[in-house]
């Protein structure tokens, strides 16, 4: 599919939104593929397909949380470009992953550069602080906004506008066995995402609940919403039980102190 300059720029702005979301919109999650897939779909005239691909990408990047280890991936830009190419070439999530992944690694290295450069700006902010100049400090702070805007819009625009014909030719010439391989990669990669989530979340005491959640979903047809409700009820019951226990222990200690 040929895209217009306007479409290319708009997709660039979606990529910029994913960075600005984190830096200036309080990590309100516009960077997630579910959202960018929909937006890119809207720009390219197929929001339904965009949302479907976005949802599939979302699962693959579920564990890319931006904290700790996983900050090595820029899922915002990778997801945007991946979804854009998948839609432009009329292909599925495999293409989105294959193209989005290198982009997300590349952008993250660019971010490392940005964060190093911003360290330099801090000394400027220091000297304004010593002068009590809040206006100038605010200016320094908001300069980050324009850095994000340029850092993301420009490369994304160049990639999707100039790269589309190259990528389209490439995708169309891929033999079936390569597509099989790419499709297996796209079903295997979510394992990494969920393993990373387990790493943040699962402590030894929580393992029984993890097993419970898995078994419930593997053996029954209950949907996510039903299982969430069950989980919330269990958590509430546990909270009541354990806090009663705690206050019982606490009052016992108090009694002993009185004696």
């Amino acid at each position: 599919m040929e895209i217009s300059i306007i479409q290319g720029l708009l997709i660039g702005l979606v990529a910029a939104l994913t960075a600005i979301e984190g830096d200036f919109l309080g990590e309100s999650k516009f960077r997630e593929p579910l959202v960018t897939g929909f937006l890119v779909g809207l720009i390219l005239g197929d929001p339904v397909q965009g949302t479907i691909i976005g949802g599939q990408l979302q699962l693959i990047w579920m564990g890319a949380t931006g904290i700790g280890l996983s900050a090595q991936l820029d899922i915002g830009c990778g997801g945007t470009i991946g979804a854009a190419f998948a839609l432009m070439t009329g292909s599925g999530v495999e293409v989105a992953v294959a193209l989005g992944l290198p982009v997300s690694i590349l952008m993250q290295s660019l971010n490392v550069l940005k964060m190093t450069a911003l360290s330099g700006l801090m000394h400027k902010a220091d000297s304004y602080a010593r002068q009590g100049n809040t206006k100038a400090m605010a200016r320094v702070h908001w300069s980050g906004f324009f850095i994000d805007l340029v850092e993301y819009t420009l490369p994304t625009f160049v990639a999707v506008y100039l790269g589309s014909s190259v990528v389209e030719g490439l995708v169309n010439s891929l033999p079936q066995w390569v597509l099989n391989g790419m499709s297996a990669v796209s079903v295997l990669l979510p394992a990494l995402g969920f393993a990373m989530l387990m790493q943040i979340l699962i402590t030894p005491k929580l393992i029984p609940f993890f097993v419970f959640g898995f078994a419930l979903a593997a053996y029954t047809d209950l949907g996510m919403l039903a299982i969430t409700l069950i989980a919330v009820s269990i958590a509430l019951v546990m909270y009541q039980l354990l806090s009663n226990q705690q206050s019982a222990v606490a009052s016992k200690v108090d009694d002993e102190e009185d004696l």
Partner: protein
């Protein structure tokens, strides 16, 4: 603004100032960097109150601005709680500078970064984000355009509430609130119970959202054997669980995420080409 409610009569701080801080707190990561991390963002967020507290005291304002340029780093959503505490402490310092050690302001900020980030990560990355994405994805799978909106709403309503009430609670009774929570052990209990929801959700999503199967088929003396059917008899969704646990094992062994990813891509590709996984 006649509508604004007075928060601090003494320093003329109003709800309008708090609203400014609330919105400014969203820009916390705006100039995130390796040296000071979120310092400038934190500073910027409480400018409205600092300017009022030190209205007639330019030296005090300079001092405060320099003070809040010190390193600060935490999960963003609960950060306004710390801002509330910092504002209350700045007022205290201004009121009674001889009996208040200003370095305690940064000490309190530092001491809150770790525990609040832990809770924040559990709730926002571990629970709200997973649940919102899981429910959003189930709509997205059928191409329902409501999906991104559901996702954004489910995540952001809790985050907006946490920010606004965090700021107020932090300001009015931050120190008291925290020491009570910590003394009674409620804080850990709260995080643990949130972890229960997260753990169940992760277990559930591994079973429902990883579509890993083994498409291998053998024909032995005329009967076709589909391997996946045998796997399902042992345990449905055995492959997604096994794959996730293997990756989890290597993460625990501190293998770099990028290495694991490359390994998964190579293994997945080869297995896909030979039809072992799909």
């Amino acid at each position: 603004m006649a509508k604004s409610n007075i928060i601090s009569k003494e320093f003329n701080i109003t709800t309008k100032d708090f609203r400014k801080t609330f919105w400014r707190s969203f820009t916390l990561l705006g100039t995130y960097n390796y040296e000071r991390m979120e310092a400038l963002g934190f500073n910027y967020s409480i400018f409205p109150e600092l300017e009022k507290i030190y209205k007639d005291d330019p030296e005090g304002l300079k001092e405060a601005l320099v003070r809040h340029m010190e390193v600060f780093n935490m999960t963003v959503a609960p950060s306004p709680f710390v801002m509330g505490i910092a504002i209350a402490m700045e007022e205290q310092y201004k009121r009674d500078p001889s009996n208040f050690d200003p370095s305690s302001i940064n000490a309190v900020k530092m001491s809150l970064m770790g525990p609040l980030s832990g809770i924040g990560d559990t709730f926002f990355w571990g629970v709200f984000r997973i649940l919102a994405a899981a429910i959003g994805c189930s709509f997205a799978a059928s191409g329902n355009l409501i999906a991104p909106f559901i996702f954004l709403l489910l995540f952001n309503v809790p985050q907006f509430l946490t920010r606004w009430y965090g700021l107020k609670i932090g300001y009015y009774n931050g120190n008291e609130f925290l020491s009570n929570m910590q003394k009674s052990g409620k804080m850990n209990l709260f995080t643990y119970c949130a972890g229960i929801v997260g753990a169940i959700a992760v277990g559930c999503m591994i079973a429902t959202q990883i579509a890993l199967t083994c498409p291998l088929e053998f024909t032995i003396s005329g009967t076709t054997i589909v391997l996946q059917e045998y796997i399902d008899q042992i345990l449905p969704k055995l492959l997604p669980l096994t794959a996730t646990l293997i990756v989890f094992y290597f993460l625990k062994k501190k293998v770099k995420v990028s290495y694991i990813m490359v390994a998964l891509i190579v293994i997945g590709f080869i297995c896909g080409v030979f039809g072992i996984l799909g």
